[in-house]
């Protein structure tokens, strides 16, 4: 019995170490994958924000009171053409410096004002791909948001509503590891992704 108990404790310790090692490996891999994914999202955001024609038309829109409609149409055509190119881009919004949506791949967003929304405030500062939000159906989405500039002139903010399928796909492999294995992404605002 003593030998059995000793053996059990020893085995438990060994197994615990092994499992923790594997969990560390999974955690490290996921950390790296998440960082890679977000770097990719930055690049995807830059694909939109770096469109010169888009920025020119937005500048015209902001300055030209008479041809705003024309500039708006061009901007909408540009973002509509970009959307299919990038997987998981659900909607693209172009906001003027006052936070008003001047163009969008979804007409429902047009003319809505988001001057106090986080994605607008953060987007004015720099490219940010970490803002998450819930849709009405409680589905979690991400905002890829960043400033639009032309010759260092701030023109507005581009915000892309991004599906998190890529992120979720990163954690599917953990199911092979164990039935009760979970990967949790936690944000300081206490919004937690449970994958």
């Amino acid at each position: 019995m003593i030998f059995g108990s000793f053996n059990y404790i020893n085995m438990e310790q060994l197994l615990k170490n092994e499992i923790l090692k594997e969990l560390e490996i999974v955690a490290q891999l996921n950390e790296k994958d998440i960082q890679d994914l977000f770097e990719q999202n930055i690049e995807k955001l830059k694909v939109v924000s770096s469109r010169y024609q888009l920025n020119v038309e937005l500048d015209k829109y902001n300055n030209n009171g008479d041809n705003k409609n024309n500039s708006q149409k061009i901007i909408i055509q540009i973002i509509n053409s970009i959307k299919p190119e990038i997987k998981n881009f659900e909607d693209i919004m172009i906001l003027d410096p006052d936070g008003k949506v001047v163009a969008s791949t979804n007409n429902a967003y047009l003319d809505t004002i988001h001057i106090e929304d986080k994605f607008f405030i953060e987007g004015k500062k720099q490219n940010n791909v970490t803002i998450l939000f819930k849709e009405k159906n409680q589905e979690l989405k991400s905002y890829l948001t960043g400033p639009l500039t032309l010759s260092d002139k701030f023109l507005g903010v581009v915000t892309i509503i991004y599906g998190l399928e890529d992120l979720l796909s990163l954690f599917n492999e953990v199911e092979d590891f164990a039935a009760t294995a979970e990967i949790i992404l936690a944000k300081i605002l206490m919004v937690m992704l449970l994958l």
């Binding site: 108990s5 085995m11 438990e12 615990k16 969990l23 960082q35 992404l185 936690a186 937690m192």
Partner: protein, 433 residues
């Protein structure tokens, strides 16, 4: 899916990851409150925490099997140990139990079972020793049984012999009883015969004595006249004297025989009355000073009876006639063996309820041969006496609760002290010869 975790749940790996604590968690519970193994990482540029966790129950599921196997093995080992203990215990205790059973049989006297129980060396050695002891006891028991059987046979034989002897003894007893009955019958017939004879003899003697005394007095008176003195009358006087003496003897004999018969038949009755002992003694002594009484014996003897009465009056509760009979017997006895000199008689109180009467003579003393049986029947040295007087006197004294004895003085002269104790008075007599 999304959840919100309270910032108060700082122990959870989720909060720890947001606190930039990259670590292993082995004793934590997750947001569900279930124990988990967890590893945390913090992505600095995103300000996100990553937690990878697994439920402990699943992580250690294989160990659960091991645990069950360990427990099962433990149980099996335990059962095995118990079984082995039982087997080992039985291997030790079974021989001891067998030994115990056999020793019980031995205790009950069954020595047939050979002790061969096996077991360990020590038990086997013990069994051998016990078997030797059983064998020794069995032999001893057999020997003892044989001895007991022999003794029993002897005892039974002895019992048979004893029974035969007992039967013979009973038969002898029956014969003895029969003979005894015959003897008793004969004795009773003899006593009756003697009693009747004594009675029948005494009846004619009284008138013989009376008439002889009258005749003797007449001849004595005639012989006092000188003209009547003749050789014939002198012879008549002598003949009458002989007749009187023998008549007195015969009378005394018949009286003694009747008294002895009463004593031996235990029908001696005392008619007690309170009397003065001094007066009785004085009367008896005076009777003996009378010449008539002196004529019973040799009138030529120069013997004087001396009685010195004491000042104090002694009252005794006695049968007056029997006391007179005793005193007369003793004085007769003293006179018989005293040729000359004095016979002293005295009485005195020695204690409040004891009186002693001493009769002391100046005779030759009591023959040492007869002294031990002086108060038995027919014990006499006298040719004249019957040897019944002292026997009768002794029984009368003892019937009064007194004691009579005889002894020689230092000068070999005898004395007969008589003592009697009574509640009120005592008396005693003494005779000397």
């Amino acid at each position: 899916m999304n959840l919100t975790v309270s910032k108060n749940q700082t122990h959870t790996p989720t909060i720890q990851s947001l606190l930039k604590n990259e670590n292993r968690f082995t004793e934590s519970k997750d947001y569900r409150g279930i124990p988990v193994l967890a590893v945390t990482r913090y992505i600095d540029n995103l300000d996100w925490g990553v937690v990878v966790k697994i439920d402990k129950s699943e992580a250690f599921a294989s160990l659960e099997n091991l645990k069950y196997i360990t427990i099962l093995i433990g149980i099996l080992v335990g059962v095995s140990i118990i079984f082995a203990s039982i087997v080992l215990g039985n291997s030790i205790s079974n021989p001891i139990q067998k030994l115990r059973k056999i020793m019980k049989d031995v205790t009950k006297g069954k020595f047939d079972s050979k002790i061969d129980v096996g077991g360990t060396n020590e038990i086997e050695e013990l069994a051998k020793q016990l078997d030797m002891m059983r064998f020794t006891i069995s032999n001893t028991n057999t020997h003892l049984n044989e001895l007991v059987r022999e003794r029993t046979e002897k005892i039974e034989k002895s019992i048979v012999e004893l029974k035969e002897k007992e039967e013979a003894l009973k038969e002898s007893n029956r014969q003895l009883v029969s003979v005894n009955e015959k003897l008793n019958l004969q004795s009773r017939i003899q006593k009756d015969f003697i009693n009747i004879t004594a009675h029948e003899l005494r009846t004619p003697i009284v008138p013989i004595i009376t008439l002889c005394e009258l005749l003797y007095k007449k001849i004595m008176n005639e012989n006092k006249i000188p003209m009547n003195q003749s050789k014939e009358n002198t012879k008549k006087e002598e003949f009458l004297k002989v007749i009187l003496r023998n008549a007195y003897r015969l009378y005394q004999l018949t009286q003694d025989i009747l008294d002895v018969t009463k004593i031996e038949s235990q029908i001696l009755r005392l008619n007690k009355e309170l009397i003065q002992l001094n007066e009785i003694i004085e009367n008896v002594v005076n009777d003996y000073k009378d010449n008539t009484n002196r004529k019973r014996y040799d009138s030529n003897k120069e013997v004087r009876i001396v009685y010195e009465p004491i000042k104090d009056t002694i009252f005794v509760n006695v049968d007056k006639a029997r006391i007179i009979q005793i005193l007369s017997n003793l004085l007769d006895n003293a006179l018989k063996f005293t040729k000359e000199g004095n016979i002293f008689i005295s009485a005195k109180k020695i204690k409040e309820e004891q009186v002693i009467v001493i009769i002391k003579d100046s005779g030759t003393g009591i023959d040492l041969e007869i002294l031990p049986r002086l108060f038995e029947k027919f014990a006499t040295k006298s040719e004249e006496g019957t040897g019944l007087g002292l026997y009768i006197s002794k029984n009368i004294v003892e019937a009064h609760g007194g004691k009579i004895w005889a002894e020689n003085n230092s000068d070999d002269r005898g004395s007969l002290p008589i003592g009697k104790s009574h509640k009120t008075k005592e008396y005693g007599e003494n005779s000397r010869r």
